[in-house]
Symmetry: C2
Subunit: 201 residues, 2 copies
């Protein structure tokens, strides 16, 4: 198996070997989810090139972004309680928990210490008022990777390669509209993201 040169890690972000990292990720999830993760990595690298983000950092963050996604609710709840994360989290579920718990687990189980990667994983489903370029790349790549298929995805992909900030806004707006239409509980941080990126300040 040949690996593109850009995917040979320098170790600058604390991970020495991409294939080893993929093996660690593979143990945590279904084949289907691993394919999604690899799709997010491909898209994140393309967006990183356009937006001045280190490709290695984007690759690592993408590979670990869903690290916690298939953990049981009971384990997630235990971590939220033990680590004294915001206890209001408990009324939400996996879609909100896996980013915050994932940020914790990649540090404590995989030994990832780069603060931007940890923050990008933490914010990847809710976004935030302030986001690094890396966090925006992961947030958007997760929404538009090639395996995604929903009515607005082509438009979202087009915007992603035109303007990353506008892609953050587009994703935030349409995710919120989707949640309201489905009558799904909304995490307050999502509204901070919306007020910042969609409605302006």
């Amino acid at each position: 198996m040949t690996v593109r040169k850009e995917l040979l890690y320098s170790g600058a972000f604390g991970v020495k070997n991409r294939m080893q990292l993929i093996e660690q990720i593979r143990n945590q999830m279904s084949e289907k989810r691993l394919n999604h993760v690899l799709g997010v990595e491909r898209m994140a690298i393309r967006l990183a090139k356009e937006n001045g983000v280190a490709l290695e950092q984007a690759s690592i963050a993408a590979l670990v972004h869903d690290y916690a996604k298939e953990r049981s609710d009971s384990e997630m709840i235990q971590i939220i309680k033990e680590q004294k994360f915001d206890q209001d989290l408990l009324v939400f579920g996996n879609p909100i928990w896996h980013g915050i718990v994932g940020a914790y687990l990649i540090e404590h189980e995989l030994g990832i210490t780069d603060p931007e990667i940890i923050e990008a994983v933490k914010l990847h489903t809710t976004g935030a008022k302030k986001m690094s370029q890396l966090a925006k790349v992961i947030y958007v790549a997760d929404y538009v990777e090639e395996g995604r298929d929903f009515p607005l995805v082509e438009e979202a992909r087009k915007i992603a390669f035109e303007n990353l900030d506008q892609a953050v806004a587009f994703e935030t707006k349409h995710t919120l509209a989707y949640l309201v239409n489905k009558e799904v509980k909304i995490y307050p941080k999502t509204i901070e993201t919306y007020n910042q990126w969609v409605a302006g300040q």
Copy 2:
């Protein structure tokens, strides 16, 4: 001019005379808004009858609900600062301010002291996690009074007379969807209302 017997006040809620109250309201707003206010009163009385709310209390709350609506932004901002209301309010505008400032002004300018009326005015645009029957009646009457004309208003009116809680949910969901579609900033309390009434707990 004849007044329906149910609109002759007993004084139980601190206001002796409805016509005098209407004169005080008339001084604060355009003819068009006064017509809206009188429409909200008619609808609120109908909903009050269905939901065990005192008609006199519903009449007063409806008449004063938009008392602050035509105050200048600068006066609203001054009151929010001087009264040490949540300073995060300042990034919002008249649609959010007029309920909170109105609750203050009806007490300090009109001498209204009934805590349920003050609360109903305060919450009439955002709703809240916990709402009295009166607060629900004013929130819903403001949305469905006969002068309102928007695509879903007939459906909203129908629901209002079937189930007041479902009408609160319907209004909250569709108002939020409208705000997102228009890319308008959302006050965090609106999400608390949505999470309680639309998405359940």
